[in-house]
């Protein structure tokens, strides 16, 4: 009786955004609670393994959608959005009976119940035998979110189980399908930068590589430009990848890179940190034994703090610091602000289309080697600064002019938050 009443649970928070694809949005709220029900644990895997695999499955969907998933072991059952459980034959009050090992291995109900056939041999991701519980869970959660089956090669929503290496991931089309229901992931960045690495190739030549990083709050993503997505498994907590810098809310990053200098600085509040790229940690003191972090006002005379953002212009050898509606041009050779600064941001970086300008409080200024351009991020949008190539094509463009704003999620794809409880997986 309890389960029957649940089926009649009002579809609050569930809407339908029908499309021709047969896919329909199932939830309208952004944080969804899930639970492996007490009577539904499998005897084949340890409880911890089962819950970890489900947590990972939900995390994989949260890495590509604006949805967060949180395991909830305490709230009343009616408040749990997605319930999972194992059973054999007639199981968990479900009207659809399992058929024993072989053929049907799981099913999902639109109202958020997912059942796994205990007669199947479910195995952890690393195993190369049996049926991967992770893969099946990701598939069934896809149903719960509103995705139907597809026969498209490579899709996780194919009806038949396709044995695959442990490293299966949600591909471009599956991502776009679910984002068609729930929208793309939006949001600004505290700071964004391309990290330069110097390596020697097999001929001993020095190769310079860059990696794109986006920071937000206490986590960050590596963005793989060539794959149009973040690294699988991101975001990651800042202290895990970056050592000795503040664990959250970084204001700015600057890389002073000349023939003689290669210095990287992180800024937060009224302090800054010098980062040692060889040792991959922040310096604790300078050559004279002075401690880091230092005061911005001492290291960069005339520069206010806290900062909104900053970037280094390699050609002019200037650091542009931004605060409010002002921009400060700092000469790194003479270690001082240029005389004519500070200026209004709009005077230094004019709007190409009238009034289409961030004006103040820029979240992050980012020079991208992938696009050979500077971008100003603010909210869910970015403004691209006119570069040399733009000027060659349109000489009338003002130097440092800002093109009209565009959606960040339309250029950097699937940069999605995950629930803080699943950050450290």
């Amino acid at each position: 009786a309890k389960r029957f009443l649940q089926l009649l649970r009002p579809l609050v928070g569930r809407e339908e955004a029908s499309g021709d694809s047969g896919a329909t949005r199932a939830f309208s709220k952004r944080t969804l609670k899930w639970r492996l029900v007490g009577e539904g644990y499998s005897s084949q895997l340890s409880a911890g393994e089962q819950r970890y695999i489900f947590r990972l499955a939900f995390r994989m969907w949260s890495e590509v959608t604006p949805l967060d998933f949180e395991e909830d072991l305490t709230s009343p059952g009616a408040q749990i959005d997605i319930k999972l459980g194992f059973g054999r034959g007639r199981h968990l009050g479900c009207p659809r009976v399992f058929d024993g090992s072989g053929q049907e291995f799981a099913h999902a109900w639109r109202l958020g119940d997912v059942h796994f056939d205990e007669d199947e041999h479910f195995t952890p991701p690393a195993s190369d035998t049996g049926i991967s519980l992770l893969r099946v869970a990701v598939h069934e959660i896809g149903h719960v979110l509103g995705l139907p089956h597809t026969y498209r090669t490579g899709s996780v929503m194919q009806p038949n189980y396709i044995p695959q290496g442990p490293a299966f991931e949600l591909d471009w089309s599956d991502r776009k399908a679910v984002q068609k229901l729930y929208g793309p992931c939006e949001g600004s960045f505290d700071t964004a930068f391309d990290w330069i690495r110097k390596e020697r190739n097999q001929y001993g030549e020095v190769m310079v590589r860059f990696s794109t990083y986006f920071f937000r709050k206490s986590w960050y993503w590596l963005y793989e430009n060539r794959n149009n997505r973040t690294r699988y498994g991101d975001p990651i907590q800042i202290p895990i990848g970056w050592h000795g810098i503040p664990a959250q809310n970084i204001d700015a990053f600057v890389h002073i890179w000349t023939w003689r200098r290669d210095e990287r600085y992180f800024f937060k509040g009224n302090q800054y940190w010098w980062y040692d790229s060889d040792k991959d940690q922040a310096h604790t003191e300078d050559e004279q034994g002075n401690r880091y972090p230092k005061l911005i006002s001492e290291g960069f005379p005339g520069i206010p703090s806290p900062l909104d953002t900053a970037f280094y212009d390699r050609r002019k050898r200037l650091i542009y610091f931004f605060k409010g509606s002002l921009v400060f041009a700092f000469d790194v050779e003479r270690n001082q602000v240029l005389n004519s600064y500070p200026k209004k941001i709009i005077d230094v970086f004019p709007a190409i289309a009238s009034q289409n300008h961030p004006f103040r409080n820029i979240d992050s200024a980012y020079y991208s080697y992938a696009h050979n351009s500077i971008f100003f991020f603010k909210g869910n949008a970015y403004w691209k600064v006119v570069n040399d190539k733009d000027k060659q094509h349109n000489s009338w463009l003002p130097s440092n002019g800002l093109f009209p704003k565009e959606s960040t999620s339309g250029k950097w794809f699937d940069v999605c938050d995950v629930h803080t409880s699943t950050l450290s997986m």
């Binding site: 049907e104 139907p148 597809t150 330069i196 190769m207």
Partner: protein, 142 residues
Amino acid sequence: ETLFHGRDHSDLEPSLLRQAQPIADLRAAQGFLAKYGWTAAPRPGDPGPRAFAEAVRAFQSANRLPATGALDAATLRVMNRPRCGVPDPRGASGFQGVPRPRGVPDPQGAFDPRGVPDPRGNPGLRSDRDPRVPQPPPARAR
């Protein structure tokens, strides 16, 4: 319980009693196609051999098999493969918990977001061979 001996349960021996009935004949195949939304459930006296052949043909083409409409070994093999219990979009019978309201069209075509381009050709990316310009490192698995 399902018998095992190893600490990590990796040597589980599925019970022979609880095996799914293999789909090996016409009736079982009719049941399979009905269960997963390829045809309406067969009723006694149903004149539907043509409808059954058409459903088999549709199932075969979706699974990239020769669409003969005949119940051959390859088709039976696919029918017996492990799969999700949710019906396929073609003629889905609204199994997913809430019966489809009357008059709402069946999602005929298999869901195929081909319309979503994959802009790999990102503007501005240099060729890998230009050593003067910093290059991104190779992608790594999770």
